[in-house]
């Protein structure tokens, strides 16, 4: 076992200090309090700022804790709680779209299915709660990645499931930007050939994305002749996502 990493210890000390004392502190103040040289503290602050854990006031140049840090601490929503709160609305979505519904949360770069409503045709289907889906190749995953402060890293290459799977990190970045702009995501035969999924974000009262809800089914039913997702189905998915968000206390939008 290697010993503790000094720079992480120092970064933690900076965060603790910012959390405890006066809300905003300058570099000199922090350096004095920690007994460290100013350039060292400055380097730490710049890195922390880069990952969103601290923010610098444009007026005074002083530092405070960043929004990303709050999200890490409080955006966790129990998956079982999410399912319970979403039950009525996910049922309605299945009834209206006549397709199966899934709700997912991000779990170690994959999508964990926390709720599943069968396609309402009484055919034999198996409950998929607990299953994991690749985040770059599913609509649920794209919605969750689009709003994730960390996002996908290039540690592992993006796996191709079909010829349509996005495997290039830059192209995925563009796709996620589009998801952020229009407020919903699709996967058109990117995970399974002939299968399409659509999804929209579930947000809590602080507008933090805590999950995604979506439908999936064959391309013939979910898309038009030009292989574009049917607008009616997209609106059902977005309405369900809004209803669940409202249930979680989100301000209606």
């Amino acid at each position: 076992m290697p010993g503790p990493i000094q720079s992480i210890e120092r970064a933690a000390a900076v965060l603790r200090l910012l959390a405890s004392g006066a809300r905003r502190m300058g570099v000199a103040e922090l350096a004095r309090a920690l007994g460290l040289p100013k350039p060292t503290v400055h380097g730490i602050l710049r890195t922390l700022q880069l990952v969103g854990f601290v923010e610098q006031s444009p007026d005074t140049g002083k530092y405070q804790l960043g929004a990303a840090l709050f999200h890490i601490g409080s955006s966790y929503l129990d998956g079982n709680e999410l399912r319970t709160r979403a039950l009525n609305w996910s049922d309605s979505l299945a009834s209206r779209s006549m397709e199966s519904v899934r709700i997912g949360t991000l779990h170690e770069n994959q999508v964990l299915v926390v709720h599943h409503v069968f396609r309402p045709d009484n055919s034999r289907q198996v409950l998929e709660v607990g299953a994991l889906l690749p985040s770059h190749a599913s609509a649920l995953g794209k919605v969750l990645l689009a709003d994730d402060p960390v996002g996908l890293t290039d540690d592992e290459p993006l796996k191709a499931y079909t010829p349509a799977t996005i495997t290039d990190l830059d192209r995925l970045g563009e796709a996620l930007e589009q998801v952020r702009q229009r407020g919903w995501a699709s996967d058109v035969e990117e995970l399974v050939e002939g299968e399409v999924s659509l999804a929209a974000p579930i947000r809590d009262r602080r507008a933090v994305t805590v999950g995604a809800v979506g439908i999936s089914g064959p391309v013939e039913r979910l898309c038009d002749e030009k292989k574009q997702p049917r607008t009616e189905l997209v609106s059902y998915v977005r309405e369900a996502a809004r209803s669940i968000s409202r249930e979680l206390g989100a301000i209606p939008w």
């Binding site: 129990d78 079982n80 049922d91 009834s95 069968f118 309402p120 009484n122 289907q125």
Partner: protein, 496 residues
């Protein structure tokens, strides 16, 4: 063209109105809570005038939310908290007293005086207990000045909440067979008030409503719902049975809420239980023969999870119990029998109190969370065993509804201990749906029960995965734990 059906669910804590379309899908919902009045320990009352005002509010609200008017409604149906009892003045329409709610135990002594528990079971299908309406009316007649004389002259009227709402809406004094079957005053064979029962409990016949079917036009509404046919009434659990489309003998459902109620359709003959279940009317559509049902009532299921949350403080919301329970592999040998106010179906032991059995130093909060959830499944197993014994038919699948069906761990475990598939339908609001279905049938909005069956869709299904040996051992331990709850209360415990 009238294209929707409205259902009014007059429940224990709130009144709701849900508007359904032809496919049985929810169009809009409005809900309003009413006050729970606790004049003394064990007494629970509702203000019937407040409930009526709330019902009008929610009907209005549900129509407004969907931008509908009364002209868009083909009919309105009613489902209600069962057994809650009201007496009102026929001339002025004013209640003579607050409604006495089903949970109210003020008739405890009266019920003891009326005799042995099974005295009336042959005729009305029910054991003597504080829940049922008959003894509650009797209490009012005994305690409100001059009420008995006025009842005998027919100047005051008795009704359960269905009757109160139908009377307010249409001016007709009627009840349906399902609600009447919870009074202890109706004969299950004749489906009419029984002279012997009425005399024994001591209620003047002149104040009783006319007993009608569950699905027929009782009258046309005036006021807010002007011109809309009032076309169904069903007690809440019977409405859920109807909404789950359990129209054939052997089909049943279990609704998981604070308590849980398992009802199984037994066809056109009442089955008198030899295993501690209630015999009740399931529904009656117009002139068709009544469908009877056996009912197993479990007092504490969701209430145990609430207790675990509020009194133990180990979780901050009810769904979190699943997360905590999943932190361990099994119950570690712990069993929780929540006999908080005695054991109900199929044991009926009022001297029992709750226990956690099998405790060792190994047990942590995760195991207790498991035991809490498993208690609901084992209690269901006991009721299902009693059902199978009484009906002679083995349950092949269990249809479930209610809030606890969101708990996957529980539903999976339930399937394991019953060794049958557990199925959740796509509309969780089966109570309102049942009232809407019955009203729709009465006015020809839906042609027959087969059409309604076609609306039923599976939303989730849990299949058994437990091996027989594990299941049998678990059930044996559960039964041993149950044995250890009985006889806890002593004569001098003064359990009031």
């Amino acid at each position: 063209m009238s294209t929707y059906i409205a259902a009014i669910d007059q429940g224990t804590t709130s009144s709701r109105c849900i508007v359904f379309d032809h496919g049985g899908a929810i169009v809009s919902v409005a809900q309003k809570e009413h006050r729970q009045i606790f004049p003394k320990p064990g007494w629970v009352e509702h203000d019937a005038e407040e409930i009526w005002a709330n019902v009008l509010d929610v009907v209005h609200g549900a129509l407004q939310k969907a931008s509908l008017t009364v002209h868009d409604l083909a009919a309105v149906g009613i489902t209600n908290q069962r057994e809650t009892t009201l007496v009102w003045d026929k001339a002025t329409g004013k209640p003579v007293h607050n409604a006495i709610v089903w949970q109210d135990t003020r008739t405890d002594q009266l019920v003891k005086e009326l005799g042995e528990q099974n005295r009336f079971r042959e005729k009305c299908g029910l054991p003597l207990a504080t829940y049922f309406s008959g003894p509650k009316v009797r209490w009012l007649l005994d305690h409100v000045d001059g009420l008995r004389e006025r009842g005998e002259r027919g100047e005051v009227l008795f009704g359960t909440m269905d009757t109160w709402l139908i009377w307010k809406l249409t001016g007709r004094h009627v009840t349906d067979v399902t609600n009447a079957s919870r009074t202890m005053l109706m004969n299950l064979e004749t489906l009419d008030w029984d002279d012997e029962l009425v005399d024994a409990i001591g209620v003047p016949k002149a104040m009783l409503p006319e007993i009608r079917s569950s699905a027929e036009v009782y009258g046309t509404a005036t006021g807010t719902l002007e011109g809309v046919p009032v076309a169904s009434a069903l007690g809440d659990q019977q409405a859920a049975l109807f909404g789950q489309t359990c129209y054939s003998p052997g089909e049943g459902k279990c609704t998981y809420g604070t308590g849980s109620f398992l009802l199984v359709n037994t066809g056109d003959k009442p089955v008198v239980s030899e295993n501690g279940l209630l015999t009740t009317v399931g529904y009656k559509i117009g002139d068709q023969p009544a469908a009877y049902a056996l009912e197993g009532a479990i007092a504490v299921t969701g209430a145990l999870v609430q207790w675990f949350r509020d009194k133990m403080g180990l979780i901050s919301s009810a769904p979190e119990i699943e997360t905590l329970a999943r932190s361990v592999e099994d119950n570690g040998g712990a069993y929780f029998v929540p006999a908080f106010s005695g054991l109900f179906a199929p044991h009926w032991r009022s001297d029992a109190r709750g226990i956690i059995a099998g405790l060792t130093g190994y047990i942590d909060k995760g195991h207790i969370a498991r035991a809490v959830l498993e208690a609901t499944a084992w209690q269901t197993r006991e009721v299902v065993d009693a059902m199978n014994a009484d009906s002679g038919v083995e349950l092949v699948a269990l249809k479930v509804d209610g809030g606890m069906t969101a708990n996957n761990l529980l539903m999976g475990f339930l399937s394991d201990v019953l060794d049958v598939p557990v199925v959740r339908p796509i509309v969780a609001e089966t109570t309102c749906l049942g009232a809407a279905y019955a009203a729709g049938l009465a006015v020809g909005y839906w042609s027959d029960t087969e059409t309604l069956r076609a609306n039923w869709h599976k939303a989730a299904e849990w299949l058994p995965t437990m091996d027989a040996k594990t299941r049998d051992k678990g059930y044996r331990k559960w039964k041993k734990a149950v044995e250890r709850t009985v006889g806890w209360i002593d004569e001098d415990d003064n359990d009031e």
